[in-house]
């Protein structure tokens, strides 16, 4: 039992120079990003943009040079991430590969896998999707049923994955699959394994699912006897649950868990000068933003030291999701149809819709709070 500790962290000494470079790049690239593009940000997809990011060495920044990485610190990488998110850049084509697929391959992949995948993630050429949720397995992820059966030279996959963001535009997914039956219903975390699956495999069908805003972000994937060679198993057979949950610490730890709607605050601010009630509201929002940023930096610092701050990440994601989800609602109370510019309204409308996903993606609010409660010693 116990409260979680968050030690203060600094951004790296070279941060100001790095920021200047990023801001110039993003100002140039972002000239034509619509409010919708900015509202989707890391759920959006722009491969051309990701290639440009890759050219500048901002993907796989911390990875070994042997694979094309930059061997820079996790805090340098943090600066890049937050600069991208603060302007709502459409980073989805490289985000997942950079955040979790690449690190997983680096940590547990074979040398062959590293050489095949990492350089292509780094260049922005290869986009990854996350293969976790299934139609009947959401929060209860370990109940998943998509199965990989051993055959000569590889595995055959049968089943379905769903809510797979940008699968129709991605190249590979890391799928968590059942490779042996659970010994009993309470041990369902056993017998799962992770595979690299080529999304262009024969027998694999991707069906787009429109979201509530009418955008085509996520998908359902059907595996009908899809063959995956032995060489695409990641890590140890049967160890998939431990591997995937360690991956979740990375997935939950980043600044994308509080910054998603900050571009709206930036866009709305000048107009709010005309609104007398705005100062207090803006001040409260900024006070929280500065605090959440330090909490997020603290988790990034722990990751840099090789720790796995899964519980800290869950807490920061929960507090951060509340913040980013409330922000469009709070700002709306200060808007005025006669005054507020159309593009600000448009971003507010998109974010109001997209924000529903903030407390769902990467672990629902309720699941996160369950993790925090266990940390507190509640059973």
């Amino acid at each position: 039992m116990g409260a979680l500790r968050f030690e203060l962290r600094d951004t790296p000494p070279d941060a100001p120079a790095l920021r200047a470079e990023l801001r110039a790049f993003l100002a140039e690239q972002g000239r034509h990003w619509s409010p919708t593009v900015r509202a989707y940000s890391w759920m959006g997809f722009d491969r051309e943009f990701s290639r440009e990011v890759g050219k500048r060495g901002w993907i796989g920044m911390t990875w070994p040079k042997a694979y094309g990485g930059g061997e820079r610190t996790a805090m340098d990488r943090y600066v890049v991430l937050e600069e991208m998110l603060a302007v709502g850049a459409p980073v989805g084509a490289h985000w997942i590969g950079d955040r979790q697929s690449g690190p997983l391959i680096l940590r547990l992949g074979t040398e062959e896998q590293r050489r095949e995948f990492l350089p292509r993630i780094i260049s922005g050429e290869m986009a990854f999707a996350i293969g976790l949720s299934e139609p009947d397995s959401g929060s209860d992820l370990a109940s998943l049923r998509t199965r990989a059966t051993k055959v000569e030279g590889g595995w055959r996959i049968e089943g379905r994955k769903v809510w797979t963001t940008n699968a129709h535009r991605c190249d590979f997914m890391i799928a968590l699959l059942r490779t042996s039956p659970a010994p009993d219903p309470r041990a369902k975390h056993q017998g799962l394994s992770q595979f690299l699956v080529d999304l262009r495999s024969s027998g694999l069908t991707i069906r787009p699912i429109l979201d509530l805003a009418g955008e085509g972000g996520f998908n359902e994937i059907t595996f009908d006897n899809v063959f995956v060679p032995d060489s695409m198993l990641v890590g140890k057979e049967g160890n998939g649950w431990e591997q995937a949950t360690a991956e979740l610490a990375f997935e939950r730890a980043g600044p994308e868990r509080y910054l998603s709607s900050l571009p709206l605050l930036t866009a709305a601010l000048d107009d709010l000068r005309a609104e007398p009630a705005a100062a207090e509201t803006v001040g409260r929002l900024l006070a929280r933003a500065g605090t959440l940023r330090q909490m997020s930096l603290s988790v990034a610092g722990m990751l840099q030291e090789g720790k796995t701050p899964a519980r800290e990440a869950a807490l920061v994601k929960d507090v951060g999701n509340d913040y980013e989800q409330a922000l469009p609602e709070i700002l709306r109370t200060l808007f005025d149809a006669a005054r507020t510019p159309a593009e600000v309204w448009e971003m507010q409308r998109m974010m109001t819709m997209v924000a529903r996903s903030y407390s769902l993606r990467g672990g629902t609010r309720e699941i996160l709070r369950g993790i925090i409660a266990r940390q507190l010693g509640l059973r």
């Binding site: 039992m1 409260a3 979680l4 968050f6 203060l8 600094d10 951004t11 000494p13 941060a15 100001p16 920021r19 801001r23 937050e82 603060a86 302007v87 900050l262 605050l265 930036t266 866009a267 709305a268 601010l269 000048d270 709010l272 000068r273 705005a278 100062a279 207090e280 509201t281 803006v282 001040g283 409260r284 900024l286 006070a287 929280r288 933003a289 500065g290 605090t291 959440l292 940023r293 330090q294 909490m295 603290s298 807490l315 929960d318 507090v319 509340d322 309720e366 996160l368 709070r369 369950g370 993790i371 925090i372 409660a373 940390q375 507190l376 010693g377 509640l378 059973r379």
Partner: protein, 335 residues
Amino acid sequence: MSDELRTILLEQVERLLADQAGPDVLRRAEAGEWPEALWAEMEALGLPLALASEEMGGAGLTWEDAVAVWQVLGRHGAPVPLAESMAAAGLLAAAGIAPPPGLLALVAPQQAGLPWGRRAQHLVAPWEGKLVLRPATGMKEGRDGFSRLPMDTCLFGPDSASALLPPALGEEPTLLAGAMIHAALIAGALEAVLDTSVDYANTRKQFGRPIGGFQAVQQLLAQAAGEVAAAGVAAAQAGRAASRRGLAAAEFEIASAKVVAGEAAGKVAAIAHQVHAAIGFTDEHHLHLFTRRLWAWRDACGTERFWARRIGEAALARGGAALWPDLTARDEATG
């Protein structure tokens, strides 16, 4: 102060308070009984003067160290105004005035009175561009409506000493210090309230099991834990900013800390009382010793509204294009 030394200091303060500042001491303090033994121990440890430099008779603690001490003090309900006295001594020393011994009261705007002002020997206040030290005279005794602690008002005597305010302190150093103190005290008291609530949820049984086993209760306490963590980080960040840049240049972080801690105080007190139910609504239970302080301290030295408006007005004046660059530059300007 090195991390190692700070840890030792914090353990000392924690031990002292665990020993000398339980609920009984808090209740007696609320009845007007000065915790003499506790204060004497604090003086023996050199705590009241610790923020002053060594040449000025202190221990050269930084604001960051002090915030950590105040958080421990808050965790035990702060029966004595150690934090205010420390800050007053620190400000005097920073202005070049050797702080006198004895309890110092910190005079700040946005304050209903001086906690335990009746025990103070001197007052420290900014006055027409100077920091002044004056004997405390003509004290009018009062009592805080929430914490029930002595909250007194007084008249200024003639200056004992005065010095021009150094630029690092700005024009309202007692207000900034007071806000930082109360953010830290809140952050500490929030920890106590959360711990008490978790303990209660794990022991109180209904429907044949501890209520902490119910998801509805777990979700509330997890939410409270998020607020407690945020308040702690915000207070620590304020202390660090003040240590690095001086009080005046740390206004954003100090204001943020008071806003975040103040918001957390309201939310966590509500959750704690909901979890404790009827027993927490009684005088007998110790929960209110802390939740009443949370409500008192969020009002002291600037409410959430007061500080949020300052941050907000500054941000609006700077405009949307500066919002993110300003937020990131504060950390990096002084590195």
